[in-house]
């Protein structure tokens, strides 16, 4: 279904603005050669610097704006602007620096900006690809529903396993209690558990069923299908948690580095004025 996303929002309105901003900056950069060469302290450098600093504050404001629900306008527009103007901002800052890098607070601020921007790009990438995959994985189910179904499967499996030989019982109860679902960020990002007890249990159960007495065959088959169901549920839950983690984890860079950037940028500005 065709509709506007954050990129083509209002027919690429913010994209067009960003392009214009970048072009203007380049034209100015190429057209006017300040007497002392390009650097932050030239008049052009100042203009670019002031615009960039304001833009950085404005970019940060997005984090607050998106949580102030009573405001007017659409958050979607803000994000579209955030992305395009953030990209333009990077160009402005680079031109502002006049490519004078060194080991100092100014370049640190620049580096932090790059981290924020790059993580932003990465975040954008995750927004583009994961939602669709999440839907494919979950269908109409939701996470709570799947967790409930796992719990129900556990209850049932444990009940049936009680009347089974010990090795089967142990395998099942190990699978039910030791299967990890999304413990820790790394595991979540990875989306699977190496040596997953449920997967192992299914594999072992396949072998264990061979020499059961005939009256246990029916409950065994039932148990087996429950464990297979459990495995597929567990996989889907892990997968979902993985997507969630990947959709969110880049923000652990984007936001803290934004704060670091603000601090570094303020220091940079004060330092510049101090050495005037």
């Amino acid at each position: 279904m065709q509709r506007s996303n954050i990129f083509d929002y209002k027919h690429y309105f913010f994209f067009k603005i960003a392009v214009v901003v970048i072009l203007l900056a380049f034209i100015a950069y190429l057209a006017f050669e300040p007497p002392l060469g390009h650097y932050g302290g030239s008049w052009l450098g100042y203009i670019l610097g002031i615009i960039s600093a304001l833009l950085v504050f404005w970019m940060t404001w997005y984090g607050i704006r998106k949580r102030r629900y009573r405001g007017s306008g659409a958050t979607q527009g803000w994000l579209s602007a955030h992305i395009y103007l953030g990209t333009a901002l990077t160009v402005l800052v680079t031109l502002h620096s006049g490519f004078n890098f060194g080991i100092n607070i100014h370049t640190l601020a620049y580096g932090l900006l790059l981290i924020v921007v790059i993580s932003g790009f990465f975040g954008n990438y995750t927004y583009m690809i994961y939602p669709r995959q999440m839907t494919e994985n979950m269908g109409e189910d939701n996470l709570d529903g799947l967790l409930l179904r796992i719990a129900d499967a556990d209850k049932l499996a444990r009940q049936i396993a009680l009347i089974m030989p010990d090795d089967i019982n142990n395998t099942v109860s190990r699978a039910c209690s030791e299967t990890a679902i999304g413990n820790g960020l790394l595991e979540q990002l990875r989306g699977y558990q190496p040596n997953c007890p449920t997967a192992n249990a299914v594999a072992q159960l396949t072998l264990m069923g061979k020499d059961l007495p005939s009256d246990q065959r029916k409950p065994y088959r039932e148990l087996y299908s429950i464990m297979v169901r459990r495995l597929s549920l567990v996989k889907r839950v892990r997968q979902d948690l993985m997507y969630r983690a990947r959709l969110g984890f880049w923000l652990y860079f984007h936001v803290p580095f934004t704060i670091a950037l603000l601090v570094a940028m303020m220091t940079h500005i004060i330092a510049v004025f101090f050495y005037w």
Partner: protein
């Protein structure tokens, strides 16, 4: 033995009957109160524990010795029990009335246990909850069998058999899953009588092993077990033989017996066959059976306070005292700006005389109508409503003249004068107003809410007929005949007929002979055509459009099949009559021709597209507009005016939509983002569809659910928390919740992630909450505006469906930027 005799027998110890009994006790007449249950007020007793009983309508004064103020259910019951004791009320519990016969001398009453009683007058106040059907099998009265479930949390680790596969049985069973083992016995072969939401949860629960069911199964007997874990065993007849089910408890939800057949067996007559019809009563609440009075919910007054007042009044009337009804004060208030020099009864009489449609009502009905209505006194040139407004009220003209503007120009297309009425089109179609109405002179209008009108249409046959006639005429006028002469118009209208179709029913079939032109008045239809052996939906048409003109113009058989998407009503103009008109009216002829050609073109395009889709493999097959239309119609989009959709291929699951809703709506989100069916990455989440004919409005005692001019269906603060709307909404979007004021978070709180403290959570009353489309918030729905990626969107279904069926692919979906 001669039956015991009383002057007055009051049947039903609900609020209405109790009030009557207390008044009778005060007046020292010989009376008896009969109650089927073992305790008084069984309806109130069945409310959920701890429910706040509210005393709507607030403006109505209470006049009865039976005290009643808004309070917890427990307090209300206790106060009433105390009043019963104080007044030594002569009450007999466990006394279920099964028959009332009018004899020469008096009224004879028969109880279920065979007892006979006689009375000069009988007050019937048995409410509308009906008598719960009981299990009529051996062991059906064991203590382990219950007919209600008050508190699902009270049962743990039990095996429970639920008998009955309707919504209430299924809901009870679902509420008990998790902590108990459940078995549902269903007489039918499936659960198709259940709401969709219940059905899904049910299949889910069975997949999880949380419950099980037996179909086509009837209980035969219940026996007590003398030993073992289970106290009772249910014997049930299944298609495979008799099954024994040992269990702890049986919950039987067999539905209620409706009250109408019972009343009819007492000789009470009803004005129409409509099931919603109310018995005909005099201004003193006396039915057509002399001496038999009907009050309270049974008489059509759905609130406790109204019933209590009537209990008092009816005793006074029986004793021959002319008391002024308690609501007269409200009427006087209404008339204060209009004819305040006359008595209330005089004004009512004047209204009745000036509007023929109102002459059809009984005095009591007219009184009710005016009580629920507003009196408007607009100046000349004032607009009553605008074309495309969503309001659904109905207007009677007592004095003055008005103009109707149907098309764009500012020239009146019709005139209205005193004695006439307007607003019937929106009432019938549930859609936007089809024209603007403006006053020409000073007017006196009665504006009646939709519900009051529907109650009347259900009860007064002649009124319905007259409304239908006018509606047909208006439909013809707007649909095809702005240029027709008055004579032609009347001629067509009087020969047109009204047709009703259930969802899925065909209006006509491809290949049929053309029988006429169908003007859709209410509901909507799909137009489909067989392509390559598959039925392909070509169009979706909502009320206000017509279908069937193609064959009329071409003279060929029907080219497509037209089917009702939801319950639909259409006006059929016969083919021969239509051809006559076309022959006489070149203007109409050219209009129809133009439409015919346009349709041909569109059909050609759509067909091309389907063929391309057809060959494009499974993925595009899934995305074909036809299947999308069918999916959306299944989700109730056909009867919606505004739906929330979530594009799951964009949604990053951040939940800001729900959070924004909760933050601005008393802490309770009105949408559930991650439940609801998905098709081609489009989810229809659990959120209000703002239906054309909102099912939720159907049974709201205080009439608290309304529709705002822009179409928003909302619940105002007179909600009494009865939960009827929750049950009636087929899409499960209403919840009962305590609403707290959510203070706006300050900048610091947002930055530091602090949740503001809500004033110490006082447990307020639970009321019904649902989406109001942020109608009080500038800039529109917040769910859509809070979504950072534009995944949440609200659509107007007509646009959506025509989008889905539009070959040119012009996007008409409203994104956040357009709301």
């Amino acid at each position: 033995m001669k039956p015991e005799h009383f002057s007055i027998i009051i049947i039903g110890a609900g609020p209405s009957g109790l009030s009557a009994a207390v008044r009778a006790a005060q007046q020292n007449v010989s009376y008896l109160l009969l109650e089927a249950a073992a305790e008084p007020a069984s309806t109130i007793r069945n409310y959920l524990r701890g429910k706040l009983v509210m005393s709507e309508p607030r403006a109505l004064p209470l006049r009865s010795p039976l005290p009643f103020t808004a309070s917890l259910r427990e307090n209300v019951l206790e106060t009433w029990e105390r009043t019963i004791a104080e007044h030594h009320i002569n009450v007999r519990y466990g006394a279920k009335v099964i028959d009332i016969i009018r004899s020469e001398q008096w009224l004879e009453i028969e109880l279920a246990d065979g007892t006979k009683l006689t009375a000069d007058d009988v007050v019937l106040a048995i409410g509308v909850q009906g008598n719960l059907r009981k299990l009529d099998i051996p062991g059906g009265n064991l203590p382990q069998i219950q007919y209600q479930l008050d508190d699902p949390l009270a049962y743990q680790d039990e095996t429970i058999v639920v008998i009955g596969g309707g919504d209430s049985g299924v809901e009870n069973a679902l509420a008990l899953t998790g902590r108990n083992q459940l078995m549902i016995l269903n007489r039918a072969e499936d659960f198709s009588n259940c709401k969709e939401g219940n059905l899904n949860q049910l299949t889910d629960a069975r997949k999880r092993g949380a419950l099980d069911w037996l179909l086509e199964t009837k209980p035969q007997a219940i026996e007590i077990n003398t030993s073992g874990e289970f106290p009772i065993t249910v014997f049930a007849k299944t298609p495979k033989g008799v099954e024994r089910i040992p269990c702890h408890r049986v919950i039987a939800r067999l539905g209620a017996l409706p009250s109408r057949p019972l009343l009819e067996s007492f000789g009470v007559s009803f004005p129409t066959t409509d099931l919603a019809a109310l018995p005909l009563l005099s201004t003193h609440y006396e039915s057509n059976v002399p001496g038999l009075y009907i009050i309270g919910a049974l008489a059509g007054y759905p609130l406790i306070k109204q019933g209590i007042n009537q209990g008092y009044e009816v005793i006074e009337y029986i004793l021959g005292n002319q008391v002024e009804p308690a609501d007269t004060a409200l009427l006087r208030d209404k008339f204060s700006s209009f004819c305040n020099d006359r008595s209330v009864d005089d004004v009512l009489e004047k209204i009745r005389k000036s509007v023929p449609l109102l002459k059809m009502l009984s005095a009591l009905q007219l009184r009710e109508l005016v009580l629920e209505s507003n009196i408007l006194l607009p100046e000349p040139g004032e607009t009553i409503f605008n074309r495309n407004d969503y309001s659904t009220t109905f207007f009677f003209i007592v004095e003055g003249e008005l103009d109707v503007l149907i098309d764009e120009d500012d020239i009146p297309d019709a005139a209205l004068k005193a004695g006439e009425f307007f607003g019937e089109m929106a009432l019938i179609s549930g859609r936007r107003r089809s024209g603007t109405v403006r006053t020409k002179t000073r007017c006196v209008l009665i504006e009646t809410p939709r519900r009051a009108m529907q109650k009347l249409i259900g009860s007064v046959q002649s009124m319905r007929r007259m409304l239908d006639e006018v509606a047909i005429k208006t439909a013809v006028h707007i649909g095809i005949g702005l240029s027709l002469s008055e004579k032609d118009l009347n001629d067509i209208a009087s020969n047109a007929s009204l047709k009703n179709y259930a969802a899925g029913e065909e209006l006509f079939h491809e290949g049929d002979e053309a029988d006429g032109l169908y003007l859709i008045q209410r509901g909507s239809v799909t137009v489909s055509h067989m392509i390559g052996g598959r039925e392909v939906v070509l169009f979706y048409l909502a009320a206000g459009h017509y279908v069937g003109e193609m064959s009329l113009v071409s003279g060929e058989p029907r080219y497509a099949t037209v089917r009702a998407a939801i319950e639909t009503q259409a006006v059929l103009i016969e083919a021969s009559r239509m051809r006559d008109i076309i022959a006489h009216n070149p203007k109409i002829r050219s209009e129809l021709d133009a439409r015919y050609l346009k349709h041909l073109q569109e059909q050609e395009n759509r067909q091309q597209m389907e063929v391309v889709q057809e060959s494009g493999g499974t993925l595009s097959q899934q995305l074909s507009p036809t299947s999308l239309i069918s999916f959306l119609i299944q989700q109730g989009v056909g009867e919606a005016t505004d739906v929330l959709l979530i594009d799951e291929s964009l949604c990053i699951r951040c939940n800001h939509c729900e959070q924004a809703c909760a933050d601005t709506h008393g802490g309770a989100t009105r949408l559930d983002r991650d439940t609801g069916p998905i098709f081609a990455n489009i989810r229809v989440p659990t959120s209000c569809r703002h239906c054309e004919h909102p099912h939720c409005m159907k049974d709201c005692p205080p009439d608290a659910i309304h529709r705002a001019p822009h179409g928003e269906v909302y619940i105002d603060d007179s909600c009494i928390g009865c939960g009827n709307c929750q049950v009636n909404c087929p899409y499960d979007v209403i919840q009962m919740a305590v609403v707290h004021d959510q203070p706006e978070r300050s900048l610091w709180q947002v930055m530091l992630g602090i949740q503001p403290k809500t004033a110490a959570k006082i447990d307020g009353p639970k009321v019904a909450v649902k989406c109001d489309m942020c109608k009080d918030i500038a800039d529109g729905p917040l769910c859509v505006r809070a979504c950072p990626v534009g995944a949440a969107l609200r659509v107007n279904p007509e646009a959506l469906l025509s989008y889905a069926s539009d070959a040119s692919g012009e996007a008409i979906l409203m994104g956040s930027d357009e709301v």
